[in-house]
């Protein structure tokens, strides 16, 4: 089943055209990693998938919901698309538990008791059950990002978007976040991941997409893209980062 279907996606900021026509399909349970140099449009593309960026042209269909259609309820659609940010963006005035409980209580009208129980379970999934009552300021970057993943999972989304989830982390904390993501992928979550972690992409991705200059330049299995890149720009990029 197709979870995400993007056709001719364009995005401009004023005169600057960042995405110049992107076509992509993501199947259920697939893990797609987007790689490419900075400024290639990967993050913008990801943010178009839940319309955090307004879409300038083309269509984005997530779970049969057309994001660009008039009258589409974007809030309802977003409930089904979890997102994890580079800067974690935990709510600093709420503790870890409250961060996770907020959306289910407010949107799904879950009772507080039930949401709390669920949040506790999610915290143990990401290995942070003992940090439930800590505020974000008292957590390390890696711990914050794991809480952020738990927060996104609390809405039981079908799809998870990751926007460079480990780029703001100290090197020793990258592993713990990637571990959680690997577990998630193994559980069959549909994931689109913008990343600079080539090791992760190689190991976990079902498909790797190389973007440059607002286009998808090359895509394929990790073996194809990393092992035998066809395009000159892909080769140059991989030579620099590997």
């Amino acid at each position: 089943m197709i979870k995400v279907k993007v056709q001719g996606l364009q995005k401009s900021f004023g005169d600057l055209e960042v995405l110049k026509g992107i076509d992509l399909e993501v199947k259920e349970g697939e893990v797609v990693c987007l790689i490419g140099p900075s400024g290639s449009g990967k993050s913008t593309f990801l943010r178009c998938l839940n319309r955090l960026e307004e879409i300038s042209g083309g269509t984005v269909i997530v779970d049969d919901n057309d994001l660009t259609a008039k009258g589409s309820n974007i809030n309802k659609i977003r409930e089904n698309i979890g997102m994890v940010f580079q800067q974690f963006n935990l709510f600093p005035h709420l503790n870890a538990l409250e961060n996770i409980m907020l959306a289910p209580v407010d949107r799904k009208k879950m009772t507080k008791a039930k949401a709390r129980e669920k949040a506790q379970t999610l915290l143990s999934t990401v290995g942070l059950e003992e940090k439930a009552l800590e505020y974000p300021a008292n957590l390390s970057g890696g711990q914050q990002q794991r809480v952020a993943i738990a927060r996104a999972l609390a809405m039981e989304p079908d799809i998870m978007l990751f926007d460079e989830p480990t780029s703001a982390l100290d090197p020793e904390m990258v592993g713990e976040v990637l571990e959680v993501m690997k577990k998630l992928a193994a559980d069959g979550m549909t994931m689109v991941v913008v990343t600079h972690e080539m090791g992760f992409a190689r190991e976990v991705a079902d498909r790797v997409i190389f973007m440059d200059g607002g286009y998808i330049v090359e895509e394929g299995t990790p073996e194809e893209v990393f092992g035998n890149p066809q395009n000159k720009r892909t080769q140059d990029f991989l030579n620099k980062v590997l």
Partner: protein, 223 residues
């Protein structure tokens, strides 16, 4: 020693009248600040709205208030408008209207700066969970903005409290006015104004302390 007991005797004599004035000052301040908070939130909503017409409304309001002295606003509302409309307005009402319009404009800008100071990612994270704009604003952005602007709000409270003294011009019987009345009777300006200054000072120091306590308590909450 004689001078001191003299002063104490004088002070005890005028204190009842001054306390009457102080009580009016405080009632004026509290009422106008309460209204100013409402006006400020409302005006701030107009300012940050994506609808251009609304921006224009709050823009005019803010520039008029910031562009004219409080004293001019006071005489305009107390003397000028009632003359044209052929109505009368009580000094207390006029004073409260002027003060709340004035403080409302400044609070509006204080609120806006607080909202701007909250990281953009907070709104994005909230929206990505499916929260509508209004809910994200109320539950995520505003609580953080509020913490940021508490010192500025306390500061505005103090300014408004002191601005009440200017309204003695329109004959409102607040603390400063009571002092002026006493001095015009007995010409004992030094003692009288010293006592008045001390009264303002004490109230403001208390207000500042309360502000600090609130700030500290919120900071502790955060963990």
């Amino acid at each position: 020693m004689n001078k001191l007991s003299n002063f104490i005797e004088y002070a005890t004599g005028i204190l009842p009248q001054l306390f009457m004035g102080l009580s009016l000052t405080l009632r004026m301040t509290i009422l106008s600040l309460f209204l100013a908070l409402i006006i400020g939130v409302f005006s701030c909503m107009l300012t940050i709205s994506k609808i251009k017409v609304l921006n224009v409304f709050s823009g005019i309001y803010l520039s008029l208030i910031r562009g004219t002295p409080l004293m001019v606003q006071a005489v305009f509302i107390y003397f000028a408008i009632p003359t044209v409309l052929k109505i009368t307005i009580a000094t207390f009402d006029a004073a409260v209207i002027v003060l709340c319009l004035n403080a409302g404009a400044y609070l509006s800008e204080i609120f806006r700066s607080g909202i701007m100071a909250v990281n953009k990612g907070q709104m994005e994270a909230a929206r990505s969970l499916g929260l509508p704009y209004g809910v994200a604003m109320r539950k995520i952005v505003l609580p953080q903005a509020f913490r940021i602007v508490i010192p500025s709000i306390v500061n505005q409270f103090i300014i408004t409290l002191k601005d009440t003294a200017i309204l003695s011009t329109i004959g409102c019987g607040e603390l400063m006015r009571q002092g002026n009345l006493i001095v015009s009777r007995n010409f004992r300006g030094f003692e009288t104004y010293a006592i008045i200054g001390a009264m303002y000072y004490v109230v403001i120091v208390i207000l500042t302390k309360v502000g600090q306590i609130i700030e500290r308590r919120l900071a502790n909450d955060k963990g």
